[in-house]
C-alpha cells in the first residue's frame, strides 16, 4: 500500500459532477464539522464554497491559532547547484534551457551559508536541481556537513532518492524533506515531463513515504499550481498529506501551494489560479488538516503574504534567492522570479506588526 493506490481509488471520479451538485447546505455542514472527510474537503474546494470564504477563514484562523499559536516560522532556500537531467516543460532549470550551469564548491557553500546565517535564520532548505550525476548524494552530504555549522535545521529539496539514501542524509543531519509532485494527474504529468528520470510518476509520488520511513522529522509536499485544474490538484495534495500523517504520525506533514511564476523558458501556465483561489485552497486545507503545516514562499507578492499571515500559514521563506550562489553573486540568474524581495528583518517586522511572532529556530537536534 502506498499513496499511489490511495489516489487510484479516485480514478474516474466525476469531479465536475460533484462540484455541480454541491449545495450551500453541504458547504455549511463541511465548515462546521469537527473532523472533515475527504469529500468535505472537496466540498470546501468547490466553486460554491467561494461564497463562504470569510466564514471558512474565521474557522481556519481559529484552528491555526489553537494548534500553532501566533507564530510564523521563517526559513530560506539555498541553491547549491542547477544541473538538471529533466525536461519539465514549465521549469527554468530544465536540461534544454541554455543557462550557466553551476555547482558551488564547499568554500562557496560556506560563503553563502555565512551570509544567510548573519540574517539570524536557523532553518535552511538545500536545493540542488535534479541531477543525480552532477549532484550525487555524497555531494549533498558534503553540503550538509557545512550547513550544519550554521543552521539548526536543514531541509532538502532534491531529486527523489532511495529510502537508504534518505536515511544516510538523516544520519548526516538532515531533518526536513521537501518535494513537489508538481501534478497529481498522471496523464498531465506524463505530458509535462517528456524526458528524464522525472518521468517516473510513481517513484516521485512515493518519495515522501520513503523520506518518512527514513526518519525525516518534517515532510513538505505540494502541487505546482497553474499546471492543471487547481481544485483537484489541491484535493489530491490534501489527501496525500492526510495519508502521510495517518501512516507516519511521528512526522510533521506540511503542504506548499506554489503558484507558477514567470521563468526563463517563458512557459505560459495553462490554468490561472487567482489570489482568491489560493486563499480558498489554504483555508480548505486548514479545516481538513487542522495540524498540517502550510508553507508560503517568496513567489507570492509581499502584500498577499502580509494577509496570509492570519489565514492558516505556518511557514514562510524570507530573504530568498533562487540563483546558485545568488547571495554572494547578486547578478546570477534564478530558477524563477521572486515576488517578495524583502529581507529577513523586513519580514520579521511585518510579522510583528500583524500581532505574530517570527520564529527563526523551531527546534534543534541535540
Amino acid at each position: 500500500m502506498s499513496f499511489y493506490d490511495e489516489r487510484k481509488k479516485y480514478e474516474g471520479f466525476d469531479f465536475e459532477g460533484f462540484f455541480e451538485q454541491v449545495t450551500d447546505a453541504d458547504v455549511r455542514r463541511a465548515i462546521n464539522r469537527d473532523r472533515l472527510t475527504a469529500l468535505d474537503y472537496l466540498t470546501l474546494l468547490s466553486p460554491r464554497a467561494e461564497a463562504y470564504l470569510e466564514e471558512i477563514a474565521r474557522k481556519a484562523h481559529r484552528l491555526t491559532v489553537q494548534h500553532f499559536g501566533r507564530v510564523i516560522l521563517l526559513f530560506t532556500p539555498i541553491y547549491v547547484a542547477n544541473y538538471c537531467s529533466n525536461q519539465c516543460l514549465y521549469c527554468g532549470f530544465k536540461a534544454t534551457n541554455r543557462l550557466e550551469r553551476k555547482k558551488l564548491t564547499p568554500a562557496e557553500v560556506e560563503e553563502e551559508a555565512r551570509i544567510i546565517a548573519a540574517t539570524g535564520l536557523k532553518h535552511i532548505l538545500l536545493l540542488t536541481g535534479e541531477s543525480r550525476s552532477k549532484s550525487p548524494v555524497s555531494y549533498i552530504r558534503e553540503c550538509v556537513e557545512i550547513l550544519k555549522k550554521y543552521f539548526a535545521s536543514i531541509g532538502i529539496e532534491v531529486y527523489p532518492l532511495e529510502e537508504e539514501e534518505y536515511r544516510e542524509l538523516v544520519d548526516a543531519g538532515v531533518d526536513g524533506f521537501c518535494m513537489y509532485q508538481e501534478v497529481y494527474d498522471e496523464e498531465v504529468y506524463a505530458r509535462l515531463h517528456p524526458a528524464g528520470p522525472k518521468r517516473n510518476y510513481r517513484y516521485r509520488l512515493e518519495a515522501p513515504e520513503r523520506a518518512c520511513r527514513a526518519g525525516m522529522r518534517t515532510v513538505n509536499i505540494g502541487a505546482l499550481l497553474g499546471l492543471h485544474e487547481w481544485r483537484t490538484e489541491a484535493f489530491f495534495t490534501g489527501l496525500h498529506a492526510d495519508y502521510l500523517q495517518r501512516a507516519y504520525p511521528e512526522v510533521e506533514i506540511s503542504i506548499s501551494p506554489p503558484r507558477m511564476r514567470p521563468e526563463l523558458g517563458g512557459f505560459e501556465p495553462p490554468v490561472k489560479v487567482t489570489d482568491r483561489n489560493l486563499v480558498q485552497y489554504i483555508l480548505a486545507f486548514r479545516l481538513f488538516m487542522p495540524r498540517g503545516g502550510v508553507t508560503i514562499s517568496s513567489r507570492e507578492r509581499a502584500e498577499l503574504r502580509d494577509h496570509l499571515v492570519r489565514l492558516g500559514v505556518t511557514k514562510m521563506s524570507a530573504g530568498s534567492n533562487t540563483a546558485v550562489g545568488g547571495r554572494s553573486h547578486p547578478e546570477a540568474v534564478g530558477q524563477f522570479e521572486i515576488s517578495d524581495g524583502r529581507s529577513v528583518a523586513e519580514m520579521a517586522a511585518m510579522i510583528y506588526s500583524r500581532g505574530y511572532q517570527p520564529v527563526y529556530k523551531d527546534w534543534q537536534m541535540v
Binding site: R29, N32, R58, T274, D275, R276, H307
Partner: protein
C-alpha cells in the same frame, strides 16, 4: 439503504450488543434480547461448580443470536488464548471478545497482553474483538494484529459512569479503520446515543441493563437510543457553530 455493520462476515443491523451477566434471573435474558432486537450477546466460560446444579446459559439465548464468548478471567494472553480455543471447540462459533484483566482494583484491561492474544487468535481464524483502554497506538497495533473491531471502554466495567473516555474514543473513531464498539461503563441510554452520534459502530451494554429495575424495558430503551444515535450520525451534524461576520474581515483584501 440498509445500514449494516459487517463483522467477521456477519451482517448486523442492531448495534446494541448485550452482556448477559448480573441479571436477577436468566429468564430475563431472552426477554431483553427480544424486546431490544439484540443480535450479538456475550457469554463467559467457567468451571462447572460440582456442588450446585447450574443453569445452561445457552438455553436462554435465542438461536439466531451471535454468541460471543469473552475471555474474562484471563490474566494474560496465554490464558485468553486458551479460553478462546476451548470456547470455539465447544461449538460457540469463532467470535471472541478478548478481555485480559490483571488489575482487580479497577478492572482495567491489560492492553499489552490483549495485543498478544489478538495476534495469536486472529492468526487461528478467530473473529477477534478486543476490549481495550482507548489508546491510539494500541488500537493501531490491534489493527495490525488482525482484530475485527476494537472495543474501547467508556468507563471502568460496571461503573455506569458514562462515556468518560469521550475524547480518546473520538480519536479512535477518527483514526481506526475498523468498527469501534464502545464497551463498558455506559450507564444510560443517552450515553449510548452519544457514543453512536460520535460515530461508534456499536455499543456493548451489560450492567446498566441487567441491574435496571426493569431490565427488559431498559434493554429496549438502550436499543432505541442506539438506533437514534446511529441515525443522527448518518444524518450528519447540523449547523450549530456560527462564525459571525467580524467587523474586520480576514478575506476583505481579495479583489479578483
Amino acid at each position: 439503504m440498509r445500514d449494516v455493520l459487517e463483522i467477521g462476515g456477519k451482517q448486523i443491523t442492531n448495534r446494541l450488543f448485550l452482556g448477559t451477566g448480573k441479571f436477577s434471573s436468566n429468564r430475563l435474558i431472552p426477554e431483553a434480547v427480544r424486546a431490544a432486537g439484540v443480535q450479538v450477546v456475550t457469554v463467559a466460560l467457567r468451571r462447572v461448580d460440582m456442588e450446585f446444579e447450574q443453569e445452561n446459559i445457552a438455553a436462554y439465548i435465542p438461536e439466531d443470536c451471535i454468541m460471543m464468548p469473552n475471555t474474562s478471567g484471563a490474566r494474560n494472553a496465554q490464558e485468553a488464548v486458551r479460553i478462546a480455543r476451548l470456547a470455539r471447540a465447544a461449538g460457540c462459533g469463532n467470535w471472541v471478545k478478548i478481555e485480559v484483566i490483571s488489575d482487580n482494583r479497577y478492572l482495567l484491561p491489560d492492553n499489552y497482553e490483549t495485543i498478544k492474544a489478538t495476534e495469536i487468535l486472529a492468526g487461528e481464524g478467530f473473529v477477534v474483538l478486543p476490549y481495550m483502554s482507548p489508546d491510539l497506538m494500541v488500537a493501531k497495533k490491534l489493527v495490525e494484529a488482525g482484530a475485527a473491531a476494537v472495543m474501547p471502554l467508556g468507563a471502568p466495567i460496571g461503573s455506569n459512569r458514562g462515556l468518560k473516555t469521550r475524547e480518546l474514543v473520538r480519536i479512535l473513531i477518527d483514526e481506526i479503520p475498523l468498527p469501534v464498539i464502545v464497551d463498558a461503563g455506559l450507564g444510560r441510554p443517552s450515553e449510548a446515543a452519544e457514543a453512536m452520534e460520535m460515530g461508534a459502530a456499536a455499543v456493548l451494554v451489560n450492567t446498566a441493563i441487567a441491574t435496571a429495575e426493569d431490565p427488559v424495558a431498559m434493554a429496549r430503551a438502550f436499543s432505541l437510543a442506539v438506533a437514534a444515535g446511529r441515525l443522527a450520525y448518518l444524518a450528519g451534524p447540523g449547523e450549530s457553530v456560527e462564525y459571525a461576520r467580524a467587523s474586520s474581515p480576514l478575506t476583505g483584501f481579495l479583489r479578483d
